[in-house]
């Protein structure tokens, strides 16, 4: 099985879906000739032409809104936000429009659209090129939010998102783009949106996380294994709507839960995960639910000292996991 990078899985999924279905097209800033600022759309312009790989004016609300119009018509647009941080001007389109089109029309209209955006820190991106923005959208019924951690998941979930009949926000961790590589089958496959995935089986503690943090947790788990602690790791993959069954099962399995996110701690989706566990698994718990997240400051600063202080990393994760294991 070929080993490819996380970003190549993004590109491959779009390429295969565009070959499969003529209604699929890409729009965004710099996605055409340049192939995207991260090269996520590399090669698509040459293969599919400017009609299906559209360099738009620099205006995020139009990128989302034009995509919504095309989706309501029956196309399958993939809109790229250059950075998740720049999605803010499109929020009215995403929340007031895309998320509510099916509901408000009583199932007459729908909006089968994907909005892709690179998020996350650790790339010297400072306040406005590093943020996790998922919590803004994670209480908007009508939306789905996918945040994959591996190239295999990227390809299967992005294809599923493109084929989904409802709007999907697809957040890609930009540091994972070239850092994370993995086996990805050549053949066509999709993975179910709304299903979490156990990335490591374990008995002593449970870590529930998503995105790049999955890899931090896996690394920390290897270190802990040497000391005889066995960690169970659940990758949420879809962070809205949450896979409640999988969360309850993972929490109950060990009775000790660490919730891990790169987002600011207060108001992150981990608060909801915690509530699900508290509501359903209280008597299975052997320790208070623990959270490890970014500090509650607006976003991560530019200077390497402060950026490192903000970011979750394998050392911080290991420390938290060890503390929980020894509780």
């Amino acid at each position: 099985m070929p080993v490819i990078s996380y970003i190549d899985a993004v590109t491959l999924a779009m390429k295969e879906e565009m070959e499969r279905d003529e209604r699929v097209f890409v729009l965004g800033e710099d996605v055409g000739k340049k192939g995207g600022v991260f090269k996520a759309t590399h090669g698509l312009y040459d293969q599919f032409g400017e009609e299906r790989v559209i360099d738009t004016p620099l205006a995020e609300s139009a990128i989302a809104g034009v995509g919504i119009g095309a989706a309501m018509y029956g196309m399958r647009p993939i809109a790229e936000m250059q950075f998740a941080d720049f999605i803010m001007p499109a929020i009215n389109q995403i929340i007031s429009e895309a998320a509510r089109i099916r509901y408000r029309s009583n199932n007459d209209w729908n909006c089968p659209m994907v909005i892709r955006a690179p998020y996350g820190g650790g790339v010297h991106g400072a306040l406005y090129h590093s943020q996790s923005v998922e919590a803004i959208f994670a209480n908007q019924p009508g939306l789905k939010i996918v945040m994959p951690s591996t190239p295999y998941d990227v390809k299967g979930l992005l294809k599923a998102a493109i084929r989904d009949d409802d709007p999907v926000l697809f957040f890609e961790h930009k540091r994972a783009y070239r850092l994370i590589k993995g086996e990805v089958p050549d053949e066509d496959y999709t993975l179910p949106i709304g299903k979490a995935d156990v990335k490591r089986q374990g008995e002593d503690i449970t870590v529930i996380t998503y995105g790049l943090c999955v890899h931090f947790a896996l690394q920390a788990a290897e270190r802990l294994a040497k000391d005889g602690y066995s960690a169970h790791i659940l990758d949420l993959r879809t962070i809205y709507p949450l896979d409640k069954e999988a969360i309850m099962e993972a929490a109950s399995k060990t009775g000790k839960v660490l919730l891990l996110t790169e987002d600011n701690k207060e108001g992150s989706i981990m608060g909801e995960v915690s509530a699900i566990i508290a509501e359903n698994c209280l008597f299975d718990l052997d320790a208070p639910i623990m959270r490890l997240a970014g500090p509650d400051i607006p976003a991560m600063p530019y200077a390497p000292t402060m950026e490192k202080y903000f970011m979750v990393n394998p050392d911080k994760v290991e420390k938290a996991m060890r503390e929980l294991a020894e509780y």
Partner: protein
């Protein structure tokens, strides 16, 4: 003798009568909704009154078999022409399950009906503008000969989505007709506090498209310019901005009292230019309409409005639990 202007535009007597009848139907449905609101039967009304000529004149210039309408909340005249019925509008007014716009989920004025290509809308203004651009883009990708027609108020023309959508359509030369129904008020704020330019259509140059301002009380003038815009769009020459100037004859909505910000004299003066009256007079002067035919039309409309009201009032509400449906695609 008044000049026959509709023949010059290629419109037959029957066609202008159809325009008149649709305008009048919109007016009578709207008036009925106010009565129902004031008698406590429906919670909310938002009016088309004063803008029927602009709405029906414009819609009549489009191809209702293939073009897409993205109306704003006052556009009863547009949706009636595109195929929504008085009964369906009343079902929306009463928020009943059969309402095709939303099954009673949205307030009246939030139009949408896929079978007639009336695209679902929301309350935050101007969000429909980029949607019209996206549908035009999709239509071009599929090599369809369709035009999208999107309307909004002059206040809404200040929104970013107007600018972003118009610019996108201009850059990509898409078949979109942007129509501003300038009724001189954004709720209470008059046009001079909304625009620094003289006319909304002055903005068109910034988007590389023609902009034209016409008398919104004259359905024939509106028909003429929208027809031109539609022809341009179908020839692949790109979008147009049309501004119709009329006057909002009612308060903003059933929850507004316009006496707090404009004078009764001003409203009375505007009522003398009411397009229902002025277009009716034109039709009589050109011998298209006489008193007998006018009564016949009026009776037909009132029968329609009465039946629609009665049906909608009797119709059932959606089941409470149905509120949970259609958040996402469902099986079956």
């Amino acid at each position: 003798m008044v000049k026959n202007r509709h023949q010059e535009l290629g419109l037959t007597d029957d066609q202008v009568l159809e325009i008149f009848e649709t305008m009048l139907l919109a007016r009578r449905i709207d008036e009925r909704m106010w009565l129902l609101n004031r008698s406590g039967k429906i919670p909310f009304v938002i009016s088309c009154q004063g803008q029927e000529a602009a709405q029906v004149g414009a819609a009549y210039a489009l191809d209702k078999e293939k073009d897409y309408a993205l109306p704003y909340y006052r556009d009863m005249g547009v949706v009636l022409h595109f195929g929504m019925t008085a009964r369906e509008l009343m079902l929306s007014g009463f928020a009943k399950a059969e309402d095709p716009n939303s099954g009673g989920r949205q307030m009246p004025g939030h139009f949408g009906q896929k079978k007639n290509r009336i695209v679902t809308g929301s309350s935050p203004v101007t969000t429909q503008v980029p949607h019209a651009v996206g549908i035009a883009l999709a239509g071009r990708m599929e090599k369809k000969d369709l035009v999208t027609f999107v309307t909004f108020g002059e206040g809404s023309s200040n929104q970013g989505d107007f600018h972003e959508g118009a610019n996108f359509a201009g850059v990509h030369k898409l078949p979109v007709i942007f129509m501003v129904e300038n009724n001189k008020y954004a709720i209470s704020v008059p046009i001079e506090k909304q625009l620094a330019c003289e006319k909304v259509s002055d903005r068109a140059i910034g988007y590389g498209m023609p902009g034209v301002t016409v008398d919104g009380n004259d359905p024939l003038e509106v028909y003429r310019v929208v027809k031109e815009a539609a022809d341009r769009a179908r020839r692949g020459e790109g979008p147009s901005l049309v501004e119709t100037v009329s006057y909002r004859l009612t308060p903003h909505s059933s929850d507004d009292d316009d006496r707090t910000y404009r004078s009764p004299d001003e409203v009375a003066k505007a009522k003398s230019l009411d397009p229902i009256i002025t277009f009716g007079a034109y039709l009589k002067e050109t011998k298209v309409l006489d008193d007998e035919l006018e009564k016949e039309i009026n009776d037909r409309i009132m029968k329609n409005v009465n039946e629609a009201t009665e049906y909608a009032e009797q119709a059932p509400y959606a089941d409470p639990e149905s509120a949970l449906k259609y958040v996402y695609a469902e099986e079956n």
